[in-house]
Symmetry: C2
Subunit: 412 residues, 2 copies
């Protein structure tokens, strides 16, 4: 039997009624001839409740105990889903992470999957079981303790199972009906994409389009897992949702696939840094040690022997970044005149594999922004992405202008 | 280090604040020089919520999935208790049943403990861990599935750990401060017992004094585990609670230790049964097959070749008993004129190991009931117990009269 992986997120299993609706979708795929591996999240709200308990009990918690506590919500959903399927006369059973076993590293609360031996579940499929319901987000460490994969880790669980079992496809059921050219709340011209390339999805995921966890997309790309994102409340036909796939599987595509944005950006500038070989390491080493996620970096030569260094980071890490820089200055590791933080910025990006073969995307983007009178503060580019930092008040306008200029409302 | 087992029930860990108070008690015993094994129940209400989910999902549920779901509440409490102890700088970690491993039979939702290998936990004590927090009520089957021990199974978990680890004592912390001579809500003369023999506790437990699960007392008796029942809201001194122990450890005791009652009894009479060898088996076999828990049995010869057969069972099993009897009659296995159910009865019992060596307890009991004008419908006796079935409206009066006549308000 071909194997299909279906993942249901927290809102899709939030109540017994929703679990029942999700189970009906599983039943359809069983009727279609698949052996199905279902990955479930906790009922929405449960994990937050458990995390709240842990944080209230112990602010600097032992991550091993955190994992033991917060993983329990998925166990409940897995059992209830198996029972629901059994009521529909579909042979099913639940599996907790340690039962599979889903082997991970010992990095508690942010563990990485090392191995998923398929034997146990395959043996049950061989005995006539049609659905293996697996508790997402959790695994077991080499020491035999329960681990979790970090928030959103159930997407990663699903893709890892699809890879380990050679599944025909991995369907991620969620509360949106696919990946859009941009956020429909910002542009009413936003269009659902039927297909998107892994690389594009990766850029969009890490740029703040919260449809899929970045790691799950990376994993799908590495193991060539066909990944589909679709709504658990909509249709189930062939064209439902968005297929995330290899770029060869996309016959025609727009140069730009989508416009992403991120509101939570801050721009920080170290003014008049004494320049010398190794100065970048002297700045960004302490920032990394302080847990600051630096995104964009720009260096301008201001005068002979001195430079301005600008970087961006999430708004809530500004205080931490300032502390790290001032400490490095006091220690004599770096020397700068001033540190200026601008928390009124936003990042807007255009993403598309078509950029590789089409020149002029950057020029078109910059012109469109200029025409709207939007000043660009920082620019970074990759092979398939151009990002700019702008004043936050222009963010929606920029997204709409870029969506228009690249004609994303039209399918290719 | 000597080992102590401490068990906290659902009301003792109902909130983070209560978990913290329970943890302080554990801290006292650690300071007293013990290595402590803490057994925890789920936060009160959690297990009922999960059972509700399962029953709503699947009325005839797969007990394996039931166990996977309902065991999760204890995992949460175990992790939170370990974190609370760590905050108090007491080295602690949580263990789920399968991690210990607590090995059970495959009788899901009513599994029996087969083995608790102490090596893993002892190794951690050897490394300096002071407290092992174990999720109660759960274990692992030979097939690697999660099992549960039945409601109240955390008491049994605690006693089994005390036996497996040769613990000095097993302290059961609950919401009452010990075992009473009778229910204080029925008689204001009820007195807390400092000590009670295993055999007496066993009779009281199975008679409806809901302080300890019957199986935990059986297990404690078999392995000579000193069991103490005490309140998690009261004092912690030597004399707190009630010690359940071997009768040799009780120097002086009253002839009668306590008066128990059970409201949920029904009296059923098969009138004019055609008597023949094997008729008892023909009646009680089908009742057992139908899952009816028959308690008392009385047979009266009514006329030549016919007999009246009376038995008692829980009120909510009357319909099932009637169905089983009528089916057996239709099948020609038994023959009776009528089946009369009386659901307005209650059972009252006096229990005491002193009865073995003191004659006249039964006569004293029957006289006391006669003096109150209470008619006895059925009598059964064991070596250390006399039970009577009476009209339910006289239940409180009977309990009070028996408490008085045996002077239970006075310590021996």
């Amino acid at each position: 039997m071909p194997i299909l992986v279906m993942k249901f997120g927290g809102t899709s299993v939030a109540t017994l009624d929703r679990i029942s609706r999700a189970a009906k979708r599983v039943g359809v795929e069983v009727a279609n001839g698949y052996d199905v591996i279902v990955i479930v999240s906790a009922m929405s709200g449960e994990t937050n409740k458990l995390v709240g308990f842990v944080e209230e009990t112990s602010p600097m918690f032992d991550a091993r105990e955190y994992d033991a506590v917060v993983s329990s919500g998925e166990n409940v959903t897995a059992g209830l889903m198996a029972l629901t399927l059994q009521e529909m006369e579909i042979p099913a059973r639940s599996w907790q992470g340690w039962q599979v076993p889903l082997k991970t590293t010992s990095a508690h609360s942010a563990a990485r999957i090392e191995e998923i031996p398929p034997e146990n579940i395959l043996a049950k499929f061989g005995e006539g079981m049609k659905v293996a319901v697996v508790a997402g987000f959790q695994g077991i460490s080499p020491e035999g303790r329960i681990t979790t994969l970090g928030r959103g880790g159930s997407d990663t669980t699903a893709v890892a199972f699809a890879a380990a079992f050679g599944a025909e496809r991995c369907d991620i059921y969620t509360d949106v009906d696919g990946v859009y050219t941009t956020d429909p709340r910002i542009s009413d011209k936003a269009r659902k994409l039927d297909k998107i390339a892994f690389e594009e999805m990766l850029e969009l995921a890490s740029l703040g389009a919260k449809v899929l966890q970045t790691r799950s997309v990376e994993l799908a790309m590495r193991y060539k897992v066909k990944l589909r994102v679709l709504s658990s409340f909509g249709e189930m036909d062939e064209s439902a949702g968005t297929l995330v796939c290899d770029e060869e599987d996309i016959v025609e595509s727009n140069v730009v696939a989508g416009v992403a944005y991120s509101r939570d950006e801050a721009k920080m500038t170290l003014i008049s840094v004494a320049d010398r070989p190794g100065i970048a390491a002297a700045i960004f080493g302490p920032l990394a040690d302080a847990g600051v996620n630096v995104d964009m970096i720009v260096q301008n030569i201001a005068e002979e022997g001195r430079t301005d260094m600008t970087f961006s980071c999430p708004t809530n890490q500004v205080a931490r970044a300032e502390a790290a820089m001032n400490k490095a200055k006091e220690a004599g590791d770096i020397n700068f005149h001033d540190l200026v933080a601008d928390t009124n910025v936003a990042k807007v990006s255009v993403v598309g594999i078509g950029m590789r073969s089409h020149a002029g995307v950057a020029a078109k983007m910059f012109n469109a922004l200029k025409d709207e009178g939007i000043n660009i503060k920082v620019i970074t580019t990759s092979e398939i992405k151009i990002s700019v930092l702008i004043d936050r008040k222009y963010m929606e306008l920029a997204v709409q202008a870029l969506h228009d200029v690249f004609e994303l409302e039209k399918a290719s």
